[in-house]
């Protein structure tokens, strides 16, 4: 029983970073209707910027982390403004290819500028200390990830519920033409959505970085986050979070009870299963337009 609870707890902890990546992808999917494969690399470059600031220039954490997040915001806005928006009447396939292209560009840039060796980022708390709750262990970093993920979800919820930009984003996602006619600058809104998504992803990245920094570090969280988002329905923010936690927990249980070797594969088996049973995802809401 203790084993089981321990695995669930670790699953929730690792699911938190998947959840952040999934949230980022869902935000962009809702705004631009494209599965965003550059999500991981949109976080990767800011992480390396943080790494550079911290280890090369010795900038303190309390400046380096906010600076990184602001850089992530600008990077997301830039990618949408400079590349995606320039696509002339693109279809979904074209947009996907564009995101993959951006992903390769950023990955190449990071590998060229910072090198591909594995490192760890200096971080205020150690990745190898643990907190003990009863018989259960959770590392302080996992605990921090969990808390930060919950705080970000709360902020996003409040943002979409109460802020003017947040409501404008929701409106733009639901009906772009009508939103424009309400005086909402829809293009600008889409750009800011990319920026916010990039920021959310970068937070996940910053919380993974103390363990490992290398150019491919964001691949796994991104794919798992994507898997979680698909399980949740791709259009629902709570769905993405829930899906990501399911993936995290099932992955750990599978690793513990069945096979540690195939642990990573299980996420994708879940996608297949969910798509067979409920293709629109567990949380997708559909409103059939009455005519």
């Amino acid at each position: 029983m203790v084993d089981f609870l321990q695995m669930v707890l670790s699953g929730i902890a690792v699911g938190s970073s998947y959840a952040l990546m999934g949230l980022g992808m869902v935000l962009i999917y809702k705004a631009s209707e494209v599965p965003n494969f550059v999500q991981g690399e949109m976080a990767l470059l800011p992480i390396f910027i943080a790494f550079m600031l911290l280890s090369t220039y010795g900038v303190p954490y309390y400046i380096a982390f906010p600076a990184t997040l602001i850089f992530a915001l600008l990077l997301g806005c830039f990618l949408e403004f400079a590349i995606l928006r320039r696509a002339k009447e693109p279809n979904v396939l074209g947009l996907i290819i564009i995101t993959i292209g951006m992903e390769m560009m950023l990955l190449g840039f990071v590998s060229w500028k910072f090198g591909a060796d594995q490192r760890a980022m200096p971080f205020p708390i150690s990745a190898y200390d643990s907190i003990v709750i009863g018989d259960l262990f959770i590392s302080t970093l996992d605990m921090l990830t969990l808390v930060v993920a919950l705080v970000i979800m709360l902020i996003l919820f409040l943002f979409f519920r109460f802020s003017k930009i947040g409501v404008a984003m929701k409106a733009t996602q639901q009906n772009e033409n009508a939103a424009a006619l309400m005086g909402i600058k829809t293009k600008q809104i889409r750009m800011v959505t990319w920026g916010i998504s990039s920021m959310v992803g970068s937070v996940a990245g910053l919380l993974i970085a103390p363990v490992l920094v290398e150019p491919y570090m964001m691949w796994d969280p991104m794919l798992k986050g994507f898997a979680g988002a698909v399980v949740g329905g791709m259009t629902s923010l709570p769905g993405a979070v829930f899906g990501a936690y399911i993936i995290g927990i099932v992955e750990h249980l599978f690793g513990g009870y069945v096979s540690i070797e195939f642990k990573s594969v299980v996420a994708f088996a879940i996608i297949v299963l969910v798509l067979c049973i409920k293709p629109s995802g567990l949380f997708a809401r559909h409103y059939v337009k009455k005519v």
Binding site: L158, F162, S163, K164, I165, V167, A168, K170, A171, Q174, N175, N177, A178, A179, A180, L181, M182, G183, I184, K185, T186, R285, Y287, K289, K290, V291
Partner: protein, 262 residues
Amino acid sequence: MAFFEVKDLSIQFGGLKALDGISFELEKGEVYAIIGPNGAGKTTLFNCINGIYQPRAGQIMFKDKNIRGKKPDKVAKAGIARTFQNIELFNNMNTMENIMLGRHLYMKTGLFRGAFLWGKNSFAGKEEVAHRKKVEEIIDFLDLQAARNKLVGGLPYGTQKQIELGRALALEPELLLLDEPCAGMNAEEKQDMIFWVKDIQDELGITILLIEHDMNMVMDISDRILALNFGRPITEGKPEDVQKHPEVLKAYLGEDEGECAA
């Protein structure tokens, strides 16, 4: 200078001239209707005015400023609101939120003041209360009380049309474009809509540009009518004159009508 004026407006899609040299003027406070068979270019004209389409030639003058080529949000800001033929609401939001979005242009509270300054007497609080009052006025005006907290996606068609009208009114426009406000409504709903359009004209003093197929409504409420066919104007004038115009009859009833009768 007229309050609102369209001069020689033309737009092409490929080889198709969807609009070809449309010109008309609106006086402040009047109801001006545009009629014509399907495909005549009525909705295209609205889309050009709103900035959804970018016409190549012509002018759209609103209060002495050319708004042709402006983006939709700029046109909204200039004081032009519209409703759609096929309802374009925010389906996953309730009626209140939909109409509230019409107030978007008037909201000043930014992220910081919204997040950190709370309470009824704060700037954000006062602003929120003011906007909600305005929305309640519109809800009362259009009898939407019963639908206030329901998601609009599941509401009856006629109610959705009303909500769209309410959302457009929330922008406090000077010119309101109504794209087939009565389409798909039953007789009772149509009658209500006619009253509201008259009220909007009389009480709120909003100028209305209207597309409608229901001739009874058009004849009842419009001050002047423009008839279009194949993107070209056929005739313009008072309802009773337009109704009798031979070209209009031909466009609506078909080319052979005269020969058959003869």
